[in-house]
């Protein structure tokens, strides 16, 4: 068995971690294990999953893209860069490398869909757009029923809502 990092020397250090119901394996040669700080596999090493995940991460991205050099159009970051650092170039990279990342995220996290906090502005705009939709429906109904007074009122409400959602003021960089 070859080392999963240098892909040259035979692997002598084997790590297995069970996260939830998924098993992760990593095979390293002695040298790579040392440089990654995995000296005592029974104690700390498995806890250092960031590093280990980083390795697995680069492999999966590579596989998913079939080895072709994919680059982020926004920041110029490539898969080779990811392989080196285990980190991405910019927020847009998540779109660029979405395919490779999805397998990786599955092994790394509980799920691949975010649950939890989201920015208030986003929540508000989502609520806004939901509200806009219902108002639009009501408006159509009012027009169909030739209920023009109500329609005029609805139209004003829609206009107001539209102005509010396009007005967020923030510091931009």
């Amino acid at each position: 068995m070859q080392c999963s990092i240098c892909k040259e020397k035979p692997a002598t250090v084997h790590l297995t971690q069970i996260v939830g119901d998924k098993m992760q394996k990593l095979d390293l040669c002695e040298e790579c294990a040392k440089t990654k700080g995995i000296n005592d596999p029974t104690a700390f090493s498995l806890a250092d999953a960031d590093k280990l995940f980083g390795l697995g991460a680069s492999q999966e991205i590579e596989q998913a893209a079939g080895g072709a050099e994919l680059k982020c159009p926004h920041c110029g970051f490539s898969q080779a860069d990811f392989k080196k650092s285990g980190r991405l170039g910019c927020p847009e990279c998540y779109k660029t490398f979405a395919e490779g990342l999805s397998t990786l995220l599955k092994t790394m996290h509980k799920d691949t869909r975010h649950v939890g906090k989201s920015p208030e502005a986003l929540r508000a705009s989502r609520e806004n757009s939901d509200r806009l939709k219902t108002l639009q429906k009501k408006l159509n109904k009012a027009i169909d029923g030739e209920n023009f007074e109500e329609a005029a009122q609805l139209r004003d409400e829609i206009k107001q809502l539209g102005e509010r959602s396009s007005a967020p003021k923030k510091l931009t960089q």
Binding site: K110, D111, G116, E120, L171
Partner: protein
């Protein structure tokens, strides 16, 4: 420009900060990772872009009511010693201490919030408190984040959540952690199985200074690893539950040691006292490991009248940067070992040797 040395509370004061269960849980912390929309992550961004991000974020953080009268500085204005002091206080990461132009730090007056700008992510904001207060620190940082998001445009995706430089932090960007003093579990050789079972729950156990560091002084950091697919509350509550169990194991471990192997306990603590009170040269690492045993002795009531803050203060002031700070000349490691030993002997001169039988076993 504020001076970090006069800004930080004196070690004697920090050693007296108390919180629930602080004989085992030294501190609780929650950090959130956030990034700005459209800007390259710090590790990939060129210098001008990093500086622009810093110039955007820093004033926004300074403007928050919680950060009033804070210490706010660009990393290139801090000396290596200043940065190391902040690392030893657990206010910034070792990774952040290595940063220069384009990175910054904002620390509030009470030292309960510390924001790192352009560490691995544009923003790493943390709330910290003494003792077992995971829920409280989460609430505190949640509020800070909600205020900050009104001023900054975060990179957020409806499916993936907050976008982070490393996919391991994606989603909530949260890391909940606690620093634990676990000499009982180490002495009773239960620590490895406990670490393994904590790992199986998807939690990480690390050393004193976080990722990739050893557990000096029997201090361990426990934190969540997964950040995507679970809400912050679920993550905080799981950690809270596991921490509660570790506290219980540690308490039981100490109790059992005193009952079943009192000689082992007295031997370790007595030797630690002997060396600390009499050494003329001692390394930082040895000091920490022995101070841990002294702390255990205080907790077990073997040093009647002594306060834990005596040990906790020494734990901080004997670390390399804190020791160097008190001296005008730049010393070599060997010279520091001599001064450290002098300091420890002096501080312990009024501490009587440990008694053999605790007044009420287990305390």
């Amino acid at each position: 420009m504020k001076d970090i040395h006069t800004f930080l509370a004196p070690p004697a004061e920090t050693a007296r900060r108390h919180g629930p269960h602080d004989r085992i849980v030294m501190s609780s912390r929650v950090r959130l990772a956030r990034n700005l929309k459209g800007a390259a992550f710090p590790g990939w961004a060129k210098k001008p872009e990093r500086m622009k991000v810093l110039e955007t974020i820093r004033p926004a953080v300074e403007r928050l009511p919680e950060m009033k009268d804070s210490f706010s500085e660009a990393m290139d204005n801090l000396t290596a010693l200043d940065k190391q002091i902040l690392v030893e206080r657990h206010l910034i990461s070792r990774e952040h201490a290595a940063k220069n132009t384009g990175s910054g730090v904002v620390l509030n007056r009470e030292e309960t919030f510390c924001v790192m700008i352009n560490e691995e992510d544009h923003l790493r904001m943390q709330a910290l408190r003494p003792g077992f207060q995971t829920r409280e620190v989460w609430k505190a940082i949640d509020n800070l984040d909600s205020e900050l998001e009104k001023l900054l445009d975060y990179a957020f995706d409806g499916d993936l959540g907050y976008l982070t430089a490393c996919p391991t932090n994606l989603g909530t960007g949260i890391r909940v952690s606690a620093m634990l003093h676990l000499p009982g579990l180490v002495l009773s050789e239960q620590i490895n199985p406990i670490i393994q079972s904590v790992n199986k729950l998807g939690l990480a156990v690390r050393g004193l200074y976080g990722e990739g560091t050893e557990a000096l002084g029997n201090v361990f950091q426990v934190s969540n690893q997964m950040t995507l697919g679970e809400s912050e509350t679920v993550i905080v509550e799981r950690l809270e539950k596991v921490l509660g169990q570790i506290i219980e194991h540690e308490e039981n471990g100490r109790q059992t040691l005193l009952e079943k192997k009192p000689k082992v306990v007295f031997n370790h603590i007595g030797r630690a006292y002997g060396i600390l009170a009499n050494a003329h040269s001692i390394s930082s690492k040895e000091t920490m490991n022995l101070l841990s045993l002294l702390r255990l002795g205080v907790d077990m009531g073997l040093f009647p009248g002594a306060e834990r803050s005596l040990v906790d203060e020494l734990f901080l002031v004997t670390q390399p940067a804190h020791l160097q700070k008190q001296l005008s000349d730049k010393l070599t490691a060997e010279e520091r070992d001599l001064i450290r030993a002098d300091m420890v002997r002096d501080r312990l001169k009024n501490l009587s040797r440990p008694i053999v039988k605790p007044p009420n076993a287990g305390n």
